[in-house]
């Protein structure tokens, strides 16, 4: 438990000074110690709850992942054996997991670019194309974000109904005969992606609008005077200066989409024929079957995917500094945008 050594008020700060050279006598007045005590007093209620209900379970889950624990072992903990990485090997060999991983990859690889593109398009038009009703549109696009997924599922199951549904009715106006979305192994996943996009663009639009504030008007003016048209200005000014914001949006969307669970849970239960079974959903099912060790291992695989995504973010965002030095147009907006996203 990483947070615990530091839990005690007034505990020595790690990594300052050497043991035979008492550090506070030299640099830290008693005030520092008093302040540490006061600060931990402030932190204590949160830390206690956090350690009990978050940090503890995270570590317990890790412990489960390297044992053969099943639900019935909870009453008889001594029957549990340490199995090392066996669970992880079993996960890698599980055909259902592979299916789920492929589905999740499909969902992420199609869903993230689609969500980003739609959000960016709306944000750009909102930012530059109109002057009135901005709040009205922003609020409208954000409404799906605040809506309960359970209610969303009820409504969308209807919209997607092959005969009584709105979607196929609208498609019918154009002479297209829509499929039975949620019962088709081909179309269930696109339906999930559409739903996730619908639920996610509101947040990204607001983030992108903030980022667009950081694109300097002077660059647009200069480019327009040089004869650049609207598309060229978007492509060569807006996009590069928005890069940090776009990456940030891509990563938070990616982290959310990798954990893709609620949509299949309420809409399809992973069907038809496991075509919408996600890794998170497969994990949930394995927990339900009582295969705790196995499911815990799988949840850590999911965690690993999130970590990898985040590392990619840091690498790409880290590159920003070198790019900034190389390309003059990155200088101001990058700073503004990074403040915008709070790092």
């Amino acid at each position: 438990m990483t947070a615990q050594p530091a839990l005690r008020p007034g505990a020595p700060a790690p990594g300052r000074g050497t043991p035979d050279q008492p550090r506070r006598i030299r640099t830290r007045p008693p005030l520092y110690r008093r302040r540490t005590r006061a600060a931990w007093g402030f932190a204590l209620p949160f830390v206690l709850l956090f350690v009990t209900f978050t940090a503890g379970p995270v570590l317990m889950s890790l412990a489960m992942a390297v044992t053969d624990i099943r639900s019935r072992d909870l009453r008889n903990p001594f029957a549990v054996e340490f199995v090392g990485l066996e669970n992880f090997v079993a996960v890698a060999q599980d055909p259902m997991f592979r299916k789920a991983a492929a589905n999740t990859a499909y969902f992420v690889l199609v869903g993230v670019p689609l969500t980003l593109a739609v959000s960016l398009a709306v944000a750009v038009v909102l930012n530059a194309g109109i002057t009135r009703l901005k709040t009205f549109f922003r609020v409208g696009y954000y409404m799906p974000v605040v809506t309960s997924i359970v209610a969303v599922a009820v409504v969308w199951r209807f919209l997607l109904h092959p005969d009584q549904g709105l979607l196929n009715e609208v498609l019918g106006w154009f002479g297209i005969e829509g499929p039975n979305w949620l019962a088709s192994t081909t179309w269930a996943m696109p339906a999930m992606i559409a739903m996730a996009t619908w639920r996610s663009i509101g947040t990204l639009i607001i983030i992108f609008l903030a980022g667009l504030q950081g694109v300097p008007t002077s660059l647009h003016e200069a480019a327009a005077l040089d004869g650049a048209n609207a598309w060229q200005r978007f492509r060569f000014i807006t996009l590069p200066t928005m890069r940090p914001t776009l990456l940030f949006g891509a990563v938070i969307t990616g982290i959310g989409y990798v954990q893709f669970f609620e949509e299949p849970f309420v809409m399809t239960q992973g069907g038809p024929l496991n075509s919408t079974l996600s890794v998170a959903f497969h994990t949930y099912n394995q927990f339900g079957f009582g295969n705790y060790g196995y499911a815990a291992a799988m949840s850590y695989v999911l965690f690993l995917a999130v970590v990898v995504l985040t590392l990619i973010q840091f690498r790409l965002l880290g590159e920003r500094d070198t790019v900034r030095r190389r390309r003059w147009w990155h200088r101001r907006p990058a700073a503004v945008a990074s403040k915008e996203i709070g790092r």
């Binding site: 505990a11 600060a39 932190a43 379970p57 194309g129 009820v154 815990a296 709070g342």
Partner: protein, 302 residues
Amino acid sequence: MSAPTRTPLPPTEPPTDAPGRPRRTRERPIGTARPHLAAYLVLGLGLVVVMSPFVWMALASVKSEGEIRRVPPTWWPEAPTLENFRDLFERLDFPQFFTNSTLVAAAVTLGNLVFCSMLGYVLAKSDFAGKQLLFRVVLGTLMIPGMVTLVPLFVLVANMGLVNTYGGLILPFLAAPFGVFLMRQFFLGIPDELIDAARVDGASEARIFVQIVVPLAKPALATLAILTFLGSWNNFLWPLVVATTEDKYTLPVALALYSTGQNQTDYGLLLAGAVVVVVPVLIVFLLLQRYFVQGIAMTGIK
């Protein structure tokens, strides 16, 4: 473009490489284009697509069961009726679910306001041993998928005897890393001088927090309160696992169980249920929408 440079420009100066397009007098900087009808059209069309599920839900909830099932579907209800809502309240104990949802969300919100602002304050404004480590650990858990903690958390709550209690529904959410992050971001913007001045005057840390910092943080606290309340209100996986009898169900749990059980073809009833779950949230959101924008702008996280 500033006013002096605007005058010398002739109104119809031909652009260098777009000969067919006459330039107009600049009323706004280049680059922020004129409000286009096309832009309103595109945004309006997009909005229609985004809003149509809500509109359809509302309209269908006042249709009769027969009309809902009609092929092809009708758009406007032929004979609006509140039958579905009456059935809903007769068959399900909605006031109870509503109370549970409100109670749980209110408690979770209150806890987060108190605990997250306390920790966020010292992380932003105090220098103490273990601060960096604490911040990193708390922030690091933002990335951990909910699946990782689900079962250990359930085992823990079960061992505490809290299954199917309000405590079991509330306690795991009282201290959320997101709130700490949001409050810290806000407190970083409060000038140190203010706090130092109070320290010099001999105010205790607790007094500084309660009398100076908290009043300044009202906008951030409002943002956190709304986001937390809503998150709790819409949360359904954990309540689904922990609440085992009807008297502890929250609204989403009731609707989820009802819509996947043997009643999943009672379309009218389900749509009415969806309206009851969604509409209060939408009203609150519409009234307080600027706080949502602030919350996202402040942290970049939903």
